[in-house]
Subunit: 392 residues, 3 copies
């Protein structure tokens, strides 16, 4: 049986993820990435075969969204529910955190019976991932000193540096689309900036994509207008990964160059690096006027690059004219969600259902991160689920 | 055993509701209405006999309230919880929907592990039910194309046209009050407008009541001041139903006429039809000034009909002076929740506990809609519950 | 086995708490306090020994927070989840309650399948506890008259008079810290006011502490500046308790005097009694200007007592210079969360982990109140849990 084969495969990986958080894909070794992908696939199969996946007898899954979200919020809720956890929102606007409470105290106060904490904190460059590590340290301390009976696992639901649940879901989509992770070798993926009439979009998606896809022998081509560069460290990570995996990583200056011969295209808007830095400063200072001016400048600058749009014509440049279009959604679709945007309506419509499927891997990826962080022997634990099928 | 008899009765109905939504009672045939009432009664009995009703091993019940609500929100939460689902709110103000995301995308994004979606969208005439159908189409498409493993069932928690969970709960109350659905034949029910100092109340409750109660041989009398007419189509539905069931449906011009000889009275405020239409236009245009003017005009117009109040004197007109008073709650009680309102304090107090009981059927009605939409053989599924009693 | 011994001990107490609420500790007799502490300890042990504590097959736990909260909100959510209940927030700002609906109606409307209602209502002196009793009466009435199949238990999550879940968690902490409730006899606890740059903090924590700790033969010393007195009735309760338990209760005028020779210190800010009274009046009248003036006056008055700070020097006055520092959190820490506050950074840091542990008892205390209110024979019910260990 295929399910059993997958579980036994998982049992052969010594992933050593028990008791750890999932904060950046490039902090995880290849076995850990493999174990996460495999666990997600096993959970998906279990669910679709009508097995119960309730591994927890009870427990909270705290969701801490410091930025708006629909799809990641629902993915986190679905993953938690699938495993038997109840979601409890930590809503800062209605809690005492807003009144200056220290991070380490709150981290402990919400964790007495908590198994998982999911955090989205992607607004401030230099702050989001740092915050997650502060929470992690506080939990370590609380657990070591007997405050917490168990140490909750933190799942990064998007920070300023990486968006690991998105990148891993995207990777799952590619593996399924092409029929195996080995099929990715040599495939060219174009991660390119695209025009959007919006402002302040995080850099974490492109950074997450180049940081992860370079590990599988792919030819990763990053393209963006001048000034829209990413955090320098994420480029170094991608270069190193590409070298090790036998793939390549290059930065080019036009969407056209990136699209040329591409198997996969990922056109998506993000804010200029320097603007995000200034924005953080202004937000910290609560400089409303400065923020307004910055937004105006930034939007004016964006407007210079309206030709960075994924059109039918642009798609013709890709391999056989039929590269796979990807997006983390929601996309800014020209003539649909905005006047001029990231992608033309006809291109998007052609790949619409594929982007939905792409998103559909996220609940299982998040659940896999939870399972591997919280169960010492995930393969044995998952195997236990196959013994009792839910009768309906 | 009575419970077993009820379940076996349900097994004899071929309701064909699996995989369908519950949007309007008049889209459901008599068998479907009967199956829903019976399933609700079975679930109530199971719950009160201390059986577990957890039919789902896991899964989300998405609640999408585009208007305020306490009682329907809690009814939906109770129904979901009873069946083993976890409620996840789709809160548009804190989600990306507010940023122009298309309905069909969101419908899929929230549904990967979702079993039920409850929607309240009653603010805009011509929009609420339409929105539900757009969501339904998107779910159909997503399910057909392999995005969704299962197709969530939509439950209409109040739209611009109907309030099916309310009307069905009201019907359950009447069946219990009179001791059987056959006892409703020939009973006169007065669905009348009543004065309230409020503005913009939806038309869905009176429309739901006349559309449903006309199916059971009742004499349904609708009364309202000039201008407070309902959506014309709902009157046609009611006429057709009355003819078929051997009852009657009439529209009269005074509360007195409707109350005369009535067995049941349902005095409730609603907005004038034309005002609701204008209001939708103004809201779409975000015309704040226009809305203020419209509200002022409407309240002034309302004030002309302050004598449309369910008083002791008015009640004397009913059969034997002791018709059953009904309300979906909260009622505008004169001298209690407002200066002058829908019902006098003494009339309301006499029937207060009955209106609470009336509301008490709603969680089971909603749960019944979920069960019939999600389980192919509801009778067999429910029967399975009786085998394992919860030991406490 | 220790767990079995604890359960059998509980079985010997005839607590008579089934069907009752937990509103004030001084309404509970010694057996009831003992049963609550013991049940909390049993639940903690069960949880930490990996037994499932799901006593409810389904059901809602309604959380009604009329004031902000992080830690109590999470404690309530944890307790509910531990026992198998799903939390449903009653959020007044998004519900029809805000529109004048009567308390008794709402109480019934949210309770059809509800097992527990947790209420925090601590803003208005003279109002919070009263509100809880109104809800309780409505539930009694609804249950008696057949509206509600079961009568939900109310847990006071902080009112204007008492904060019983806090005081009971604090007591659990002391019992564990000293190794038994009998060890508390003769220990001196200083419940003292402390300076904070904030305004309008409720009186319920000090009132709860003096009302509960006086029952165990402790020497309870209350200290506060002139004008910061507590509700007179709570002093009477404390005096009576102290007399009965063989302890003592005294009110002194300086922090120094209270700290002298103390085994335990609980320095915490609260608002002046008369200010809280005036504030309620102004809030009722929606007198925004009056409220601003009152706040200004009150903060200016507070500032006269900045020397009421728990410093290293102050701690030297305590028994052996090493009294146990307690706080309900979050504390106003000088130089950390504010410029000048309740406690110096070095004192707080020394006891930080202890205050976290103190907070850690709260989920179990709340769960114990739920169990004793909802199960006729709690000992037998809990004993049932030990038969099936959760296999993971």
């Amino acid at each position: 049986m295929e399910l059993m084969k997958m579980i036994s495969q998982l049992g052969e990986i010594d992933a050593k993820m028990y008791g750890t958080d999932f904060l950046l894909t490039w902090e995880k070794n290849d076995d850990q990435i493999k174990a996460t992908l495999l666990t997600a696939a096993i959970l998906k199969k279990l669910y679709e075969s009508d097995y119960s996946c309730k591994l927890f007898k009870s427990g909270l899954a705290v969701s801490n969204f410091r930025d708006n979200s629909t799809r990641t919020r629902f993915s986190f809720a679905s993953a938690s529910n699938l495993l038997g956890l109840a979601v409890q929102d930590l809503n800062e606007s209605t809690s005492q955190i807003a009144h200056g409470e220290t991070v380490r105290e709150t981290a402990n106060m919400i964790s007495f019976l908590t198994e998982v904490i999911g955090i989205r904190d992607d607004m401030f460059l230099g702050a989001g991932n740092k915050y997650m590590r502060e929470v992690a340290e506080a939990l370590d301390d609380g657990h070591k000193k007997g405050v917490l009976h168990q140490r909750p696992t933190i799942v990064n639901l998007q920070c300023d540096i990486d968006h690991p649940t998105q990148a891993m879901a995207d990777l799952s989509h590619l593996i399924n689309y092409y029929g195996g992770v080995d099929k990715l070798k040599g495939k060219k993926i174009a991660m390119t900036w695209a025009y959007s009439p919006s402002y302040g979009k995080p850099l974490s998606v492109p950074q997450g994509i180049i940081g992860l896809m370079t590990r599988f022998g792919m030819e990763v081509s990053l393209a963006h207008p001048e000034g829209y560069n990413l955090i320098p460290d994420t480029l170094k990570v991608s270069e190193k990964n590409a070298k090790k995996s036998g793939g390549s990583f290059s930065v080019v200056n036009t969407m056209e160059e990136a699209f040329k011969g591409a198997d996969i295209v990922y056109p998506k808007s993000w804010a200029p690096y320097s603007v995000m830095g200034k924005r953080t400063d202004l937000l910290m200072k609560k400089d409303t006027e400065g923020l307004k001016t910055l937004e105006k400048e930034c939007l004016a600058n964006n407007a210079k690059y309206k030709n960075w749009e994924c059109t039918e014509k642009m798609m013709k440049l890709t391999k056989g004219g039929k590269a796979l279009y990807m997006h983390c959604l929601p996309a800014d679709i020209s003539g649909v969600s905005c006047k001029e945007g990231e992608v033309s309506a006809s291109v998007f419509e052609k790949y619409r259902i594929e982007t939905y499927k792409e998103a559909g891997y996220k609940p299982y990826i998040i659940a896999a991160m939870m399972v591997l962080g919280k169960f010492k022997n995930a393969a044995r634990t998952l195997s236990g689920l196959t013994r009792k099928r839910f009768a309906d």
